[in-house]
Protein backbone atom coordinates (compact mmCIF):
# COMPACT_ATOMS: atom_id res chain seq x y z
CA UNK A 1 0.00 0.00 0.00
CA UNK A 2 1.26 3.44 -0.85
CA UNK A 3 2.15 5.65 2.09
CA UNK A 4 -0.41 8.35 2.91
CA UNK A 5 1.05 11.81 2.84
CA UNK A 6 -0.58 15.00 4.07
CA UNK A 7 0.31 18.68 4.06
CA UNK A 8 -0.76 21.20 6.69
CA UNK A 9 -0.06 24.88 7.10
CA UNK A 10 0.05 27.30 9.99
CA UNK A 11 1.46 30.85 9.98
CA UNK A 12 3.32 30.93 6.68
CA UNK A 13 3.07 32.08 3.10
CA UNK A 14 2.43 28.50 1.89
CA UNK A 15 5.40 29.03 -0.41
CA UNK A 16 7.01 25.77 0.69
CA UNK A 17 3.94 23.82 -0.43
CA UNK A 18 4.19 25.71 -3.69
CA UNK A 19 7.86 24.71 -3.85
CA UNK A 20 6.69 21.09 -3.60
CA UNK A 21 4.25 21.63 -6.47
CA UNK A 22 7.10 23.24 -8.39
CA UNK A 23 9.17 20.02 -8.33
CA UNK A 24 7.80 19.48 -11.81
CA UNK A 25 10.54 17.18 -13.05
CA UNK A 26 9.88 14.58 -10.36
CA UNK A 27 6.38 15.41 -9.11
CA UNK A 28 4.48 12.95 -11.30
CA UNK A 29 6.92 10.15 -10.46
CA UNK A 30 6.61 10.96 -6.76
CA UNK A 31 2.83 10.84 -7.02
CA UNK A 32 3.14 7.26 -8.28
CA UNK A 33 4.86 6.34 -5.02
CA UNK A 34 2.56 8.00 -2.48
CA UNK A 35 -1.08 8.88 -1.87
CA UNK A 36 -1.58 12.52 -1.03
CA UNK A 37 -4.55 12.60 1.32
CA UNK A 38 -4.61 16.24 2.45
CA UNK A 39 -3.17 19.17 0.60
CA UNK A 40 -5.09 22.42 0.77
CA UNK A 41 -2.93 23.97 -1.95
CA UNK A 42 -3.92 21.25 -4.40
CA UNK A 43 -6.77 18.94 -3.29
CA UNK A 44 -9.73 18.89 -0.89
CA UNK A 45 -9.71 15.30 0.43
CA UNK A 46 -9.30 14.40 4.12
CA UNK A 47 -8.01 11.27 5.91
CA UNK A 48 -7.93 10.03 9.51
CA UNK A 49 -4.28 8.87 9.65
CA UNK A 50 -1.09 9.82 7.89
CA UNK A 51 2.16 8.00 7.29
CA UNK A 52 3.96 11.29 6.74
CA UNK A 53 2.61 14.72 7.71
CA UNK A 54 4.39 17.76 6.31
CA UNK A 55 3.73 20.81 8.45
CA UNK A 56 4.42 24.27 7.14
CA UNK A 57 4.28 27.44 9.24
CA UNK A 58 4.99 28.59 12.75
CA UNK A 59 2.72 28.18 15.77
CA UNK A 60 1.41 31.59 16.84
CA UNK A 61 -1.76 30.83 18.83
CA UNK A 62 -2.85 28.26 21.36
CA UNK A 63 -5.50 26.92 18.99
CA UNK A 64 -2.74 26.27 16.44
CA UNK A 65 -0.84 24.29 19.04
CA UNK A 66 -3.97 22.21 19.75
CA UNK A 67 -4.40 21.48 16.04
CA UNK A 68 -0.71 20.62 15.66
CA UNK A 69 -0.80 18.17 18.58
CA UNK A 70 -3.82 16.54 17.01
CA UNK A 71 -1.96 16.19 13.67
CA UNK A 72 1.02 14.73 15.50
CA UNK A 73 -1.22 12.15 17.19
CA UNK A 74 -2.49 10.98 13.79
CA UNK A 75 0.91 10.88 12.05
CA UNK A 76 3.58 8.23 12.00
CA UNK A 77 6.27 10.64 10.78
CA UNK A 78 6.04 14.40 11.14
CA UNK A 79 8.19 16.71 9.05
CA UNK A 80 8.75 20.44 9.57
CA UNK A 81 8.41 21.96 6.10
CA UNK A 82 10.39 25.16 5.67
CA UNK A 83 11.86 27.96 7.74
CA UNK A 84 8.62 28.96 9.54
CA UNK A 85 8.03 25.47 10.90
CA UNK A 86 11.73 24.81 11.54
CA UNK A 87 12.76 28.06 13.17
CA UNK A 88 9.91 30.56 13.37
CA UNK A 89 11.20 32.57 10.40
CA UNK A 90 10.73 36.35 10.12
CA UNK A 91 7.51 36.41 12.14
CA UNK A 92 9.45 35.33 15.24
CA UNK A 93 10.86 38.85 15.35
CA UNK A 94 7.59 39.87 16.98
CA UNK A 95 8.68 37.83 20.01
CA UNK A 96 11.02 40.67 20.90
CA UNK A 97 8.03 42.92 21.62
CA UNK A 98 5.30 42.51 24.25
CA UNK A 99 2.10 41.50 22.42
CA UNK A 100 0.25 44.70 23.40
CA UNK A 101 2.95 46.82 21.75
CA UNK A 102 3.04 44.53 18.77
CA UNK A 103 -0.74 44.72 18.16
CA UNK A 104 -0.59 48.45 18.58
CA UNK A 105 2.13 48.71 15.93
CA UNK A 106 0.33 46.50 13.44
CA UNK A 107 -3.36 47.29 14.00
CA UNK A 108 -3.47 50.50 16.07
CA UNK A 109 -4.59 51.10 19.64
CA UNK A 110 -8.33 51.24 18.96
CA UNK A 111 -8.50 47.88 17.26
CA UNK A 112 -6.28 46.32 19.88
CA UNK A 113 -8.42 47.55 22.77
CA UNK A 114 -11.69 46.65 21.07
CA UNK A 115 -10.92 43.04 20.14
CA UNK A 116 -9.67 42.14 23.58
CA UNK A 117 -13.26 42.06 24.81
CA UNK A 118 -14.74 40.56 21.65
CA UNK A 119 -15.09 36.77 21.88
CA UNK A 120 -15.53 36.53 18.15
CA UNK A 121 -12.14 38.00 17.37
CA UNK A 122 -9.94 37.60 20.41
CA UNK A 123 -9.11 33.91 19.91
CA UNK A 124 -7.54 34.84 16.59
CA UNK A 125 -5.40 37.50 18.23
CA UNK A 126 -4.36 35.83 21.37
CA UNK A 127 -0.88 34.72 20.38
CA UNK A 128 1.89 35.65 22.69
CA UNK A 129 4.83 33.96 21.08
CA UNK A 130 5.79 32.70 17.63
CA UNK A 131 7.13 29.17 18.00
CA UNK A 132 8.80 26.70 15.67
CA UNK A 133 6.70 23.53 15.59
CA UNK A 134 9.48 21.67 17.38
CA UNK A 135 8.66 23.73 20.49
CA UNK A 136 5.19 22.19 20.54
CA UNK A 137 5.51 18.60 19.28
CA UNK A 138 8.24 16.09 18.46
CA UNK A 139 9.52 16.56 14.92
CA UNK A 140 11.09 13.66 13.02
CA UNK A 141 12.72 15.57 10.18
CA UNK A 142 13.41 19.17 9.31
CA UNK A 143 13.27 20.41 5.73
CA UNK A 144 14.92 23.79 6.12
CA UNK A 145 14.93 26.93 4.08
CA UNK A 146 12.73 29.76 2.87
CA UNK A 147 11.56 28.08 0.73
CA UNK A 148 12.64 24.44 1.09
CA UNK A 149 15.22 22.90 -1.23
CA UNK A 150 13.22 20.68 -3.62
CA UNK A 151 16.07 18.16 -3.80
CA UNK A 152 15.94 17.64 -0.04
CA UNK A 153 12.18 17.10 -0.19
CA UNK A 154 12.61 14.41 -2.86
CA UNK A 155 15.50 12.83 -0.93
CA UNK A 156 13.38 12.58 2.23
CA UNK A 157 10.32 11.13 0.49
CA UNK A 158 12.38 8.52 -1.38
CA UNK A 159 14.28 7.56 1.77
CA UNK A 160 11.10 7.16 3.81
CA UNK A 161 9.51 4.99 1.13
CA UNK A 162 12.36 2.46 1.07
CA UNK A 163 13.17 2.71 4.77
CA UNK A 164 16.57 4.33 4.27
CA UNK A 165 17.95 6.88 6.73
CA UNK A 166 17.82 10.30 5.09
CA UNK A 167 20.92 12.42 5.49
CA UNK A 168 20.83 16.15 6.23
CA UNK A 169 24.37 16.90 7.40
CA UNK A 170 24.90 19.77 9.84
CA UNK A 171 27.30 21.55 7.50
CA UNK A 172 27.68 25.24 6.84
CA UNK A 173 26.49 26.71 3.54
CA UNK A 174 30.20 27.43 2.89
CA UNK A 175 30.83 23.76 2.08
CA UNK A 176 28.51 23.77 -0.91
CA UNK A 177 29.43 27.32 -1.85
CA UNK A 178 33.12 26.41 -2.10
CA UNK A 179 32.36 23.17 -3.92
CA UNK A 180 30.70 25.33 -6.57
CA UNK A 181 33.90 27.37 -6.85
CA UNK A 182 32.09 30.60 -5.89
CA UNK A 183 33.99 33.69 -4.97
CA UNK A 184 33.44 34.23 -1.25
CA UNK A 185 30.85 36.94 -0.58
CA UNK A 186 33.28 38.53 1.90
CA UNK A 187 35.85 38.68 -0.90
CA UNK A 188 33.80 41.16 -2.87
CA UNK A 189 33.09 43.39 0.08
CA UNK A 190 29.68 42.12 1.17
CA UNK A 191 28.95 40.07 4.28
CA UNK A 192 27.20 36.73 4.58
CA UNK A 193 25.60 34.39 7.13
CA UNK A 194 26.87 31.27 5.34
CA UNK A 195 29.42 30.20 7.96
CA UNK A 196 26.81 29.75 10.70
CA UNK A 197 23.88 28.57 8.56
CA UNK A 198 22.73 25.01 7.82
CA UNK A 199 23.66 23.99 4.32
CA UNK A 200 21.75 21.69 2.01
CA UNK A 201 20.55 24.44 -0.30
CA UNK A 202 23.57 24.12 -2.60
CA UNK A 203 24.39 27.77 -1.82
CA UNK A 204 21.73 28.77 -4.34
CA UNK A 205 21.69 32.44 -3.30
CA UNK A 206 25.45 32.94 -3.66
CA UNK A 207 25.47 30.96 -6.90
CA UNK A 208 23.08 33.56 -8.24
CA UNK A 209 25.06 36.58 -7.09
CA UNK A 210 23.39 37.27 -3.73
CA UNK A 211 24.65 36.47 -0.22
CA UNK A 212 23.41 34.01 2.38
CA UNK A 213 20.86 35.54 4.76
CA UNK A 214 20.60 32.46 6.94
CA UNK A 215 17.10 31.25 6.04
CA UNK A 216 18.02 27.63 6.82
CA UNK A 217 18.66 28.37 10.48
CA UNK A 218 21.55 28.42 12.87
CA UNK A 219 23.91 25.43 12.96
CA UNK A 220 24.11 23.63 16.31
CA UNK A 221 27.82 24.45 16.58
CA UNK A 222 27.57 28.00 15.19
CA UNK A 223 30.31 30.29 16.50
CA UNK A 224 27.97 33.26 16.79
CA UNK A 225 30.35 35.44 18.83
CA UNK A 226 33.06 35.15 16.20
CA UNK A 227 30.57 35.79 13.43
CA UNK A 228 29.18 38.94 15.06
CA UNK A 229 32.76 40.13 15.59
CA UNK A 230 33.52 39.50 11.93
CA UNK A 231 30.46 41.46 10.79
CA UNK A 232 31.52 44.33 13.07
CA UNK A 233 35.01 44.26 11.56
CA UNK A 234 33.40 44.55 8.15
CA UNK A 235 31.87 47.80 9.39
CA UNK A 236 28.33 46.64 9.98
CA UNK A 237 26.74 48.75 12.71
CA UNK A 238 25.28 47.03 15.78
CA UNK A 239 21.78 47.60 14.39
CA UNK A 240 22.78 46.14 11.00
CA UNK A 241 24.10 43.06 12.79
CA UNK A 242 20.94 42.88 14.88
CA UNK A 243 18.85 42.99 11.71
CA UNK A 244 20.96 40.37 9.96
CA UNK A 245 20.44 37.98 12.83
CA UNK A 246 16.86 39.10 13.30
CA UNK A 247 15.75 38.29 9.77
CA UNK A 248 15.65 34.50 9.92
CA UNK A 249 17.38 33.62 13.18
CA UNK A 250 15.53 35.64 15.81
CA UNK A 251 13.83 32.60 17.39
CA UNK A 252 17.22 30.91 17.74
CA UNK A 253 19.32 33.84 18.89
CA UNK A 254 16.81 35.77 21.02
CA UNK A 255 18.27 36.64 24.40
CA UNK A 256 21.81 36.06 23.11
CA UNK A 257 22.12 39.24 21.12
CA UNK A 258 23.65 42.53 22.09
CA UNK A 259 20.88 45.03 22.91
CA UNK A 260 20.57 47.83 20.40
Amino acid sequence: MKPKIAFFDFASCEGCQLAVLNCEDILLDLLNLVDIVEFREAISEKAPRYDVAFVEGSINREKDAVRLREIRARSRVLVALGACACGGNVQARSNALPPVENYDRVYGKDARNRVQVDNEFWPYWTHARVQPIGDVVDVDYYLRGCPIAPGEFAHLVKSLIVGAIPSFPANAVCVECKENGNECVFDHGDTCMGQITWGGCGAVCVNNGYRCDGCRGLLPHANVDAHRALLAERELSPSDIHNRYGLFLSAQTRGKEARV
Binding site: I26, D29, L30, N32, L33, A154, H155, K158, S159, I161, V162, A164, S167, P169, A170, N171, A172, C174, V175, K178, E179, G181, N182, E183, C184, F186, D187, H188, G194, Q195, I196, P220, H221, A222, N223, A226, H227, A229, L230
Partner: protein, 350 residues
Protein backbone atom coordinates in the same frame (compact mmCIF):
# COMPACT_ATOMS: atom_id res chain seq x y z
CA UNK B 1 62.31 16.42 -24.82
CA UNK B 2 60.97 18.88 -27.35
CA UNK B 3 61.09 22.59 -26.60
CA UNK B 4 59.48 25.56 -28.32
CA UNK B 5 58.92 29.25 -27.88
CA UNK B 6 55.41 30.65 -28.17
CA UNK B 7 53.56 33.87 -27.51
CA UNK B 8 50.60 33.93 -25.14
CA UNK B 9 48.39 34.39 -28.19
CA UNK B 10 49.86 31.23 -29.76
CA UNK B 11 49.18 29.34 -26.54
CA UNK B 12 45.57 30.41 -26.16
CA UNK B 13 44.94 29.69 -29.85
CA UNK B 14 46.49 26.25 -29.36
CA UNK B 15 44.34 25.55 -26.28
CA UNK B 16 41.19 26.69 -28.09
CA UNK B 17 42.06 24.29 -30.89
CA UNK B 18 42.41 21.45 -28.37
CA UNK B 19 39.16 22.52 -26.72
CA UNK B 20 37.31 21.97 -29.99
CA UNK B 21 38.19 18.27 -29.75
CA UNK B 22 38.27 17.55 -26.03
CA UNK B 23 37.46 19.13 -22.64
CA UNK B 24 40.04 21.75 -21.73
CA UNK B 25 39.88 23.48 -18.34
CA UNK B 26 41.61 26.80 -17.72
CA UNK B 27 41.37 29.34 -14.85
CA UNK B 28 38.68 31.86 -15.72
CA UNK B 29 37.50 34.86 -13.80
CA UNK B 30 34.67 34.33 -11.32
CA UNK B 31 33.30 37.20 -9.26
CA UNK B 32 35.40 40.32 -8.86
CA UNK B 33 38.88 38.88 -8.35
CA UNK B 34 38.83 35.10 -8.17
CA UNK B 35 39.34 32.30 -10.65
CA UNK B 36 37.83 28.93 -11.34
CA UNK B 37 38.93 26.08 -13.62
CA UNK B 38 36.12 26.26 -16.17
CA UNK B 39 35.73 24.57 -19.48
CA UNK B 40 37.25 26.53 -22.36
CA UNK B 41 34.77 27.52 -25.03
CA UNK B 42 34.91 30.03 -27.89
CA UNK B 43 34.33 32.99 -25.58
CA UNK B 44 36.61 32.00 -22.70
CA UNK B 45 39.07 34.71 -21.66
CA UNK B 46 42.44 33.10 -21.07
CA UNK B 47 45.53 34.69 -19.62
CA UNK B 48 48.64 33.18 -18.08
CA UNK B 49 49.37 36.45 -16.31
CA UNK B 50 49.57 35.89 -12.56
CA UNK B 51 46.22 34.78 -11.21
CA UNK B 52 45.44 33.99 -7.64
CA UNK B 53 45.05 30.31 -6.88
CA UNK B 54 41.59 29.27 -8.09
CA UNK B 55 38.89 28.95 -5.41
CA UNK B 56 38.96 25.16 -5.73
CA UNK B 57 42.06 23.41 -7.05
CA UNK B 58 42.32 21.84 -10.52
CA UNK B 59 42.78 18.39 -8.97
CA UNK B 60 39.06 18.40 -8.25
CA UNK B 61 38.56 17.68 -11.95
CA UNK B 62 40.17 14.32 -11.17
CA UNK B 63 38.54 13.80 -7.75
CA UNK B 64 35.24 15.66 -8.25
CA UNK B 65 32.95 17.00 -5.51
CA UNK B 66 30.32 14.42 -6.36
CA UNK B 67 30.67 11.31 -8.46
CA UNK B 68 28.63 8.21 -9.12
CA UNK B 69 30.57 5.09 -8.08
CA UNK B 70 28.04 2.59 -9.44
CA UNK B 71 24.35 2.09 -10.07
CA UNK B 72 22.41 -0.55 -8.17
CA UNK B 73 19.06 -2.22 -8.13
CA UNK B 74 17.48 -4.31 -5.38
CA UNK B 75 14.81 -6.74 -6.50
CA UNK B 76 11.77 -7.83 -4.47
CA UNK B 77 13.76 -10.69 -2.91
CA UNK B 78 16.41 -8.27 -1.70
CA UNK B 79 19.06 -9.33 -4.23
CA UNK B 80 21.30 -6.58 -5.54
CA UNK B 81 22.59 -6.10 -9.06
CA UNK B 82 25.34 -3.55 -9.55
CA UNK B 83 26.32 -1.77 -12.73
CA UNK B 84 29.62 0.14 -12.93
CA UNK B 85 29.71 3.64 -14.38
CA UNK B 86 31.12 4.34 -17.83
CA UNK B 87 34.52 6.03 -17.96
CA UNK B 88 34.48 9.68 -19.00
CA UNK B 89 36.47 11.09 -21.90
CA UNK B 90 39.91 12.62 -22.01
CA UNK B 91 40.41 16.03 -20.36
CA UNK B 92 43.18 18.60 -20.33
CA UNK B 93 43.94 20.79 -17.32
CA UNK B 94 45.80 23.86 -18.53
CA UNK B 95 47.35 26.72 -16.59
CA UNK B 96 48.10 24.48 -13.61
CA UNK B 97 50.59 26.08 -11.20
CA UNK B 98 53.52 24.14 -9.68
CA UNK B 99 51.77 24.03 -6.27
CA UNK B 100 48.70 22.38 -7.79
CA UNK B 101 50.87 20.13 -9.93
CA UNK B 102 52.61 18.87 -6.81
CA UNK B 103 49.22 18.48 -5.10
CA UNK B 104 48.04 16.23 -7.95
CA UNK B 105 51.23 14.17 -7.52
CA UNK B 106 50.53 13.84 -3.79
CA UNK B 107 46.93 12.84 -4.50
CA UNK B 108 48.20 10.21 -6.95
CA UNK B 109 50.47 8.80 -4.27
CA UNK B 110 47.77 8.70 -1.61
CA UNK B 111 44.86 7.53 -3.75
CA UNK B 112 46.72 4.99 -5.87
CA UNK B 113 48.44 3.47 -2.86
CA UNK B 114 47.70 -0.21 -2.24
CA UNK B 115 44.83 -1.50 -4.39
CA UNK B 116 44.23 2.07 -5.56
CA UNK B 117 41.09 4.06 -6.11
CA UNK B 118 39.67 2.92 -9.45
CA UNK B 119 37.56 5.96 -10.39
CA UNK B 120 40.46 8.25 -9.49
CA UNK B 121 42.94 6.19 -11.49
CA UNK B 122 40.66 6.10 -14.49
CA UNK B 123 40.20 9.86 -14.50
CA UNK B 124 43.86 10.55 -13.74
CA UNK B 125 44.97 8.44 -16.69
CA UNK B 126 42.56 10.33 -18.93
CA UNK B 127 43.92 13.72 -17.77
CA UNK B 128 46.70 15.63 -19.50
CA UNK B 129 48.27 18.56 -17.66
CA UNK B 130 49.68 21.76 -19.12
CA UNK B 131 51.45 23.44 -16.21
CA UNK B 132 52.85 26.97 -16.06
CA UNK B 133 55.72 28.17 -13.89
CA UNK B 134 55.52 31.09 -11.44
CA UNK B 135 58.24 33.72 -11.49
CA UNK B 136 56.63 35.87 -8.81
CA UNK B 137 54.48 34.91 -5.80
CA UNK B 138 50.83 34.94 -6.91
CA UNK B 139 49.26 35.72 -3.56
CA UNK B 140 50.21 37.10 -0.14
CA UNK B 141 49.07 33.85 1.48
CA UNK B 142 51.18 31.50 -0.64
CA UNK B 143 54.28 29.78 0.78
CA UNK B 144 54.92 27.28 -2.01
CA UNK B 145 58.71 27.72 -2.01
CA UNK B 146 58.90 26.95 1.72
CA UNK B 147 57.32 23.51 1.26
CA UNK B 148 59.16 22.58 -1.92
CA UNK B 149 56.31 23.02 -4.40
CA UNK B 150 57.69 25.84 -6.50
CA UNK B 151 60.18 23.73 -8.41
CA UNK B 152 57.92 20.70 -8.80
CA UNK B 153 57.59 19.43 -12.40
CA UNK B 154 56.60 15.77 -12.11
CA UNK B 155 53.17 15.02 -13.53
CA UNK B 156 53.10 17.78 -16.15
CA UNK B 157 52.80 16.71 -19.79
CA UNK B 158 53.61 20.15 -21.10
CA UNK B 159 55.45 22.73 -19.01
CA UNK B 160 55.40 26.46 -19.74
CA UNK B 161 57.97 28.92 -18.43
CA UNK B 162 57.31 32.64 -18.89
CA UNK B 163 60.20 34.37 -20.72
CA UNK B 164 60.31 38.02 -21.77
CA UNK B 165 56.78 38.31 -23.09
CA UNK B 166 57.01 34.82 -24.59
CA UNK B 167 56.76 31.36 -23.11
CA UNK B 168 59.11 28.41 -23.25
CA UNK B 169 57.03 25.32 -24.08
CA UNK B 170 58.47 21.95 -23.05
CA UNK B 171 56.79 18.64 -23.85
CA UNK B 172 57.83 16.48 -20.90
CA UNK B 173 55.95 13.27 -21.81
CA UNK B 174 54.80 11.39 -24.91
CA UNK B 175 51.30 12.62 -24.25
CA UNK B 176 52.62 16.17 -24.04
CA UNK B 177 54.50 15.65 -27.28
CA UNK B 178 51.25 14.58 -28.96
CA UNK B 179 49.51 17.68 -27.61
CA UNK B 180 52.03 20.10 -29.11
CA UNK B 181 52.13 18.29 -32.46
CA UNK B 182 51.07 20.71 -35.15
CA UNK B 183 50.96 23.67 -32.73
CA UNK B 184 52.09 27.02 -34.18
CA UNK B 185 55.21 27.20 -31.96
CA UNK B 186 58.82 27.95 -32.95
CA UNK B 187 61.42 25.31 -32.08
CA UNK B 188 63.82 26.39 -29.32
CA UNK B 189 67.42 25.17 -29.35
CA UNK B 190 68.71 26.83 -26.14
CA UNK B 191 65.82 25.88 -23.84
CA UNK B 192 67.97 25.15 -20.78
CA UNK B 193 69.71 28.53 -20.94
CA UNK B 194 66.52 30.49 -21.43
CA UNK B 195 64.87 28.62 -18.57
CA UNK B 196 67.79 29.22 -16.21
CA UNK B 197 67.75 32.88 -17.16
CA UNK B 198 64.04 33.19 -16.37
CA UNK B 199 64.33 31.28 -13.09
CA UNK B 200 67.26 33.43 -12.00
CA UNK B 201 64.92 36.42 -12.04
CA UNK B 202 62.66 34.88 -9.39
CA UNK B 203 62.24 36.85 -6.17
CA UNK B 204 64.37 35.46 -3.32
CA UNK B 205 63.04 34.54 -0.84
CA UNK B 206 60.02 33.57 -2.88
CA UNK B 207 56.90 34.46 -0.87
CA UNK B 208 56.36 33.59 2.76
CA UNK B 209 58.68 31.28 4.66
CA UNK B 210 58.28 28.69 7.39
CA UNK B 211 60.61 28.75 10.40
CA UNK B 212 61.40 25.04 9.98
CA UNK B 213 62.02 22.91 6.91
CA UNK B 214 59.26 20.50 5.81
CA UNK B 215 61.64 17.63 6.62
CA UNK B 216 61.99 18.78 10.23
CA UNK B 217 58.30 19.53 10.80
CA UNK B 218 56.96 16.01 11.50
CA UNK B 219 59.31 15.63 14.47
CA UNK B 220 58.48 19.11 15.76
CA UNK B 221 54.71 18.83 15.44
CA UNK B 222 54.71 15.36 16.97
CA UNK B 223 55.85 17.01 20.19
CA UNK B 224 53.15 19.71 20.23
CA UNK B 225 50.08 17.58 21.00
CA UNK B 226 49.10 19.61 24.07
CA UNK B 227 50.22 22.97 22.73
CA UNK B 228 48.11 26.01 23.52
CA UNK B 229 48.43 26.96 19.85
CA UNK B 230 45.58 24.61 18.90
CA UNK B 231 43.05 26.33 21.13
CA UNK B 232 44.32 29.75 20.25
CA UNK B 233 44.08 29.06 16.53
CA UNK B 234 40.35 28.26 16.60
CA UNK B 235 38.83 30.96 18.80
CA UNK B 236 37.26 32.43 15.67
CA UNK B 237 36.85 29.18 13.72
CA UNK B 238 33.36 28.55 12.29
CA UNK B 239 34.05 24.86 11.58
CA UNK B 240 32.67 25.67 8.14
CA UNK B 241 34.98 23.26 6.31
CA UNK B 242 36.15 25.84 3.77
CA UNK B 243 39.84 25.10 4.45
CA UNK B 244 39.28 21.44 3.58
CA UNK B 245 37.10 21.97 0.55
CA UNK B 246 39.58 24.35 -1.09
CA UNK B 247 42.63 22.23 -0.17
CA UNK B 248 44.31 20.52 -3.13
CA UNK B 249 45.45 17.56 -1.01
CA UNK B 250 42.29 16.89 1.04
CA UNK B 251 40.82 13.65 -0.23
CA UNK B 252 38.40 12.51 2.49
CA UNK B 253 34.96 11.58 1.25
CA UNK B 254 31.62 10.27 2.35
CA UNK B 255 29.45 7.79 0.48
CA UNK B 256 25.68 8.10 0.07
CA UNK B 257 22.93 6.44 -1.92
CA UNK B 258 20.77 8.58 -4.18
CA UNK B 259 17.58 6.68 -4.95
CA UNK B 260 15.78 6.80 -8.27
CA UNK B 261 12.40 8.49 -8.04
CA UNK B 262 10.94 6.23 -10.74
CA UNK B 263 12.06 3.11 -8.91
CA UNK B 264 13.24 3.74 -5.33
CA UNK B 265 14.70 0.24 -5.08
CA UNK B 266 17.31 1.33 -7.57
CA UNK B 267 19.71 4.23 -7.45
CA UNK B 268 23.25 5.47 -7.49
CA UNK B 269 25.95 5.11 -4.90
CA UNK B 270 27.65 8.48 -4.87
CA UNK B 271 30.79 9.78 -3.30
CA UNK B 272 30.98 13.34 -1.93
CA UNK B 273 33.81 15.37 -0.52
CA UNK B 274 33.94 15.45 3.25
CA UNK B 275 35.87 17.80 5.50
CA UNK B 276 37.62 17.01 8.78
CA UNK B 277 36.91 20.48 10.18
CA UNK B 278 33.16 19.77 10.11
CA UNK B 279 31.92 18.83 13.60
CA UNK B 280 30.26 15.60 12.45
CA UNK B 281 33.32 14.30 10.59
CA UNK B 282 34.57 12.15 13.45
CA UNK B 283 31.14 11.21 14.83
CA UNK B 284 30.67 7.45 14.96
CA UNK B 285 27.89 5.01 15.80
CA UNK B 286 25.94 5.84 18.96
CA UNK B 287 26.81 9.51 18.57
CA UNK B 288 30.31 9.52 20.05
CA UNK B 289 32.54 12.14 18.47
CA UNK B 290 36.24 11.56 18.91
CA UNK B 291 37.19 15.07 17.78
CA UNK B 292 34.42 17.11 19.40
CA UNK B 293 36.19 20.49 19.55
CA UNK B 294 37.39 22.76 16.78
CA UNK B 295 40.85 22.68 18.39
CA UNK B 296 41.01 18.87 18.14
CA UNK B 297 39.91 19.06 14.51
CA UNK B 298 42.45 21.77 13.72
CA UNK B 299 45.21 19.69 15.27
CA UNK B 300 44.16 16.76 13.13
CA UNK B 301 44.14 18.84 9.95
CA UNK B 302 47.59 20.31 10.57
CA UNK B 303 49.05 16.97 11.59
CA UNK B 304 47.69 15.32 8.44
CA UNK B 305 49.41 17.89 6.26
CA UNK B 306 52.72 18.20 8.10
CA UNK B 307 53.19 15.00 10.10
CA UNK B 308 50.93 11.97 9.42
CA UNK B 309 51.00 11.88 5.61
CA UNK B 310 54.65 12.97 5.27
CA UNK B 311 55.56 10.11 7.62
CA UNK B 312 53.27 7.69 5.81
CA UNK B 313 54.38 8.39 2.24
CA UNK B 314 57.83 10.00 2.57
CA UNK B 315 57.06 12.62 -0.07
CA UNK B 316 57.51 15.70 2.09
CA UNK B 317 54.84 18.05 3.29
CA UNK B 318 51.27 17.26 2.25
CA UNK B 319 50.63 20.99 2.36
CA UNK B 320 51.70 22.45 -0.97
CA UNK B 321 51.69 26.05 0.25
CA UNK B 322 49.10 27.36 -2.20
CA UNK B 323 47.61 29.44 0.61
CA UNK B 324 43.99 28.73 -0.41
CA UNK B 325 42.83 27.74 3.07
CA UNK B 326 44.10 30.96 4.61
CA UNK B 327 43.00 33.13 1.68
CA UNK B 328 39.47 31.74 1.82
CA UNK B 329 39.10 31.64 5.62
CA UNK B 330 36.80 34.44 6.76
CA UNK B 331 38.09 33.93 10.31
CA UNK B 332 41.65 34.62 9.14
CA UNK B 333 43.07 31.27 10.26
CA UNK B 334 46.39 30.70 8.53
CA UNK B 335 47.98 27.24 8.45
CA UNK B 336 51.47 28.68 7.87
CA UNK B 337 51.01 30.87 10.94
CA UNK B 338 49.91 27.87 12.99
CA UNK B 339 52.95 25.87 11.91
CA UNK B 340 55.30 28.74 12.71
CA UNK B 341 53.62 29.23 16.11
CA UNK B 342 53.99 25.52 16.83
CA UNK B 343 57.66 25.51 15.88
CA UNK B 344 58.25 28.52 18.13
CA UNK B 345 56.27 26.94 20.98
CA UNK B 346 58.00 24.74 23.57
CA UNK B 347 57.58 20.96 23.60
CA UNK B 348 54.27 19.91 25.16
CA UNK B 349 53.81 16.30 24.18
CA UNK B 350 51.74 14.97 27.08
Amino acid sequence: MRAFVATEHDLTRWLRGLAAKTSVYFPQKTGSRNFRFDRVDGRAEMSFAGYRPTVVPPGRKIAPEREVLFRFRRDEKGRFTVRPTEPEGVQILAGVRPCDLRAIKLMDIALLDGPGDTPYRRRREATAIVAADCLAPCDDFAFCAAVGSLTHRDGADVFLTPLHGDFLVEALTDRGSDLVDGAPFKACANAADRKAEAEAKRAKPFGRQLVASPAALPKIIEKRWASAVWDRSVSRCFSCGTCNVVCPTCYCFDVRDDLDVRDPLSGERTRHWDACMLPQFAAVADGHNFRPTAAARQRHRVKRKFEYLPNRFGEGSYCVGCGRCARQCTAGIDIAGIVNDLAADGEVAS
